[in-house]
């Protein structure tokens, strides 16, 4: 890692501060402009103007918005994400973290399947370029990408649970048979995208001189494809993998909601409809923070793996 790269990473990290700041201001103001709702929904039938006023005072919602914001940021910098208005005994972090862990595990397996399928499919399509197989392969996977989760889930639940009886519909933990269907529904739509990128990458590598050299020196086609073409074509996939990582912590709203999985996607839907200010803010800020970090991480990993990047790291 040369000084150029370190400087580049620092610049990237510094840019994250104003961007996260702007985002936090916008989301904060937006949420506060919806007047008094969290208190009303919290109290429900017990709503009286006096009780509402007392709670608003307690949560500090009576203060001017800029004052609230400064207070929020001050707490945030000390690691305090605020409290939930729905579950007054828990802090926002206590609510989010266990659910994020559930989503991360499920999302991790889904991501693994996506890439385990997408990469070979992409290589296969690239090698079959010029025949009808190439467009057919990608196109058929694209169909799965076009079906929204909330359409796929009821159909899969009917087929695998009601008709075939292979799995149950209830959530019984991450490592149970019942999670096979949701993980597949999360994984399969992404295959087309990965395959498409991998295909383009393989085709790019196929034209390189070292591939011609490998063929010219009489290596077996299998060796050329696996060790020369595929290995080099995998390099750009680092970006795709790295940038998908923060997404798995954000969970999958529809799949979690429809399968009853207590993950972060479902939590965010509940937090937004309540609304639960501090939980929503924590969700948005935390996931953008993860994303910025993943971006930087991808750049660093690149520089370690591919020496060519280190030389021309001045971009951005």
């Amino acid at each position: 890692m040369g000084p150029g790269l370190t400087g580049y990473i620092i610049r990237r990290l510094l840019w994250a501060i104003p961007v996260l700041f702007i985002l936090s201001v916008v989301v904060f103001w937006m949420l506060r402009l919806a007047p008094g709702d969290p208190i009303e929904s919290r109290l429900g039938k017990a709503y009286t103007p006096e009780a509402a006023a007392r709670l608003r005072e307690k949560y500090g919602y009576t203060q001017p918005i800029p004052v609230q914001y400064v207070k929020y940021i001050k707490n945030l910098l000390q690691g305090d994400l605020g409290v939930s208005t729905r579950h007054p005994d828990f802090t926002a972090a206590e609510i989010i973290l266990p659910k994020m862990w559930v989503s991360t595990q499920i999302g991790f397996f889904a991501l693994l399947i996506t890439f385990a399928l997408g990469i070979p499919v992409g290589v296969y399509a690239a090698l079959a370029r010029g025949t009808f197989v190439d467009p057919m392969v990608i196109s058929s996977w694209l169909l799965l990408d076009a079906i929204p989760a909330f359409v796929l889930v009821p159909m899969a639940q009917w087929l695998f649970a009601l008709k075939l009886g292979w799995v149950g519909l209830r959530y019984e933990g991450v490592y149970t048979m019942n999670m096979v269907v949701p993980v597949l529904i999360l994984a399969l739509p992404g295959v087309a995208g990965v395959a498409r990128l991998m295909r383009a990458s393989v085709i790019g590598v196929m034209g390189e001189d070292f591939v011609r050299t490998a063929r010219a020196k009489g290596l077996r086609e299998r060796t050329v494809v696996v060790t020369h073409i595929t290995r080099n074509a995998l390099l750009p996939m680092i970006t795709v993998i790295g940038l998908s990582l923060p997404g798995i912590a954000a969970g999958a709203l529809f799949v979690e909601q429809l399968f009853g999985i207590p993950g972060i996607g479902r939590e965010s839907l509940e937090a937004v409809t309540a609304p639960d200010f501090d939980v929503i803010l924590a969700l948005v800020l935390f996931s953008s923070f993860l994303f910025v970090m993943a971006n930087v991480l991808v750049d660093v990993v690149y520089a370690f793996i591919d020496p060519r990047v280190r030389i021309s790291s001045g971009r951005g």
Binding site: W15, A16, P18, V19, L20, I22, L23, M30, L31, A34, R129, G130, D134, P135, I138, S139, L142, D145, A146, I147, P148, F150, P154, M155, Q157, W158, A161, L162, L169, A192, G193, R196, L197, A200, I203, G204, G207, T239, V240, P246, G247, A250, L253, F254, L258, G265, S268, L269, V272, T273, P275, I280, L283, V284, S287, S288, F291, V292, N295, G316
Partner: protein, 328 residues
């Protein structure tokens, strides 16, 4: 469902003008793309002409509402069957197509063309901190879970729906239900906009960056052409082809945003048919077991719509990026 994601793999390609027709010719040779295009023509035709094509009023309920008229399966009278209230699902699907078309058009013009093209050109041509700021904001917006922020925006504006509706009723010629539809529609457009510009802006920017360095831009600058002239006459023509490809690749996710929000009941009002609300009536394994047509009537047309745009976008990317083209 990041709207921006499809934009990642458009490397800057220098486009020459005469290739425009070649693109169409090559496109016509791709059978998949032609099939996709044909479906889209039917979809747009039916959607735009919904009032003429639809056999029934989409909100008309039969009176008296007997048990046989509710959730009836497909028949010669009702091609897609009827829903819980006995309304004709084929007519509702046609009107839902109209909702989708209007929504995508509005978001495309405001988010794609106005914001996407505008910010992309600004970032690419001005460069420097303007460029960095625009692209970093886009990067973060593209990275956070789109749906959650969209939900947050919709939820926080929803409490204002009634205020705005009353205001519109009092100050414009709009009637009660029109005013409410307009307000709800505006809210979901506003919720989609922050994410709709990123993909196209990224494509436009990288193209503009490449073209800015070319000699014809330099000579135009040397001759004292105004910034406006350089951008519109010299940079824009080179940017347009890939910009259009980017738009077509992003169509499915823009339309998907409305469908998802309407599925959650946060989209257009109950009087305006939408694929999202159609699907939500039939979603659920037991409902699907007993009345599969409830889910399929909404799902099939809109899934094919997404699929067609994806296929078309895929074909266009392939044509415009010679590197991945099939040898011939």
């Amino acid at each position: 469902m990041a709207i921006a994601e499809s934009a990642e793999y458009f490397p800057p390609v220098e486009m020459a003008r005469p290739r425009r027709w070649r693109t169409l010719r090559v496109l016509a040779r791709k059978k998949i793309a032609v099939a996709a295009l044909a479906y889209l023509v039917v979809f747009y035709g039916c959607g735009l002409l919904a009032p003429l094509v639809a056999p029934y009023d989409p909100n008309e309920q039969p009176r008296p509402l007997t048990l046989e008229l509710r959730k009836a399966g497909p028949s010669g009278e009702h091609w897609f069957g009827t829903d819980d209230l006995g309304r004709d699902l084929f007519s509702r699907a046609l009107y839902a197509a109209r909702t989708t078309i209007i929504f995508t058009l509005v978001v495309l013009l405001t988010g794609g063309v106005f914001l996407g093209l505008g910010l992309g050109l600004l970032a690419g041509y001005r460069g420097g901190w303007v460029d960095t700021l625009i692209m970093r904001v886009g990067e973060v917006l593209g990275g956070i879970p789109t749906l959650i922020l969209m939900l947050a925006i919709t939820a926080s504006f929803r409490t204002r729906i009634d205020d705005l509706r009353f205001w519109l009723e009092d100050h414009t010629w709009l009637g009660r239900s029109d005013a409410e539809s307009l307000v709800r529609f505006t809210i979901i457009v506003l919720a989609t906009l922050p994410f709709a510009w990123i993909g196209s802006a990224r494509i436009v920017r990288s193209q503009a960056l490449a073209i800015r360095e070319s000699t014809f831009v330099l000579s135009a600058e040397a001759m004292g052409a105004s910034t406006w002239r350089i951008v519109t006459r010299h940079i824009l023509p080179g940017v347009l082809p890939l910009f259009i490809v980017g738009l077509s690749a992003g169509m499915a996710s823009i339309a998907g945003a409305e469908v998802a929000l309407s599925f959650l009941g946060l989209g257009v009002g109950p009087d305006t048919p939408s694929f999202g609300s159609l699907i939500s009536q039939g979603a659920g394994p037991y409902t699907f077991q007993t009345w599969p047509h409830l889910l399929l009537a909404g799902a099939v047309p809109v899934v094919l719509f997404f699929y067609a745009w994806n296929l078309l976008g895929d074909a266009l990317v392939d044509i415009l990026e010679p590197r991945t083209q099939a040898p011939r």
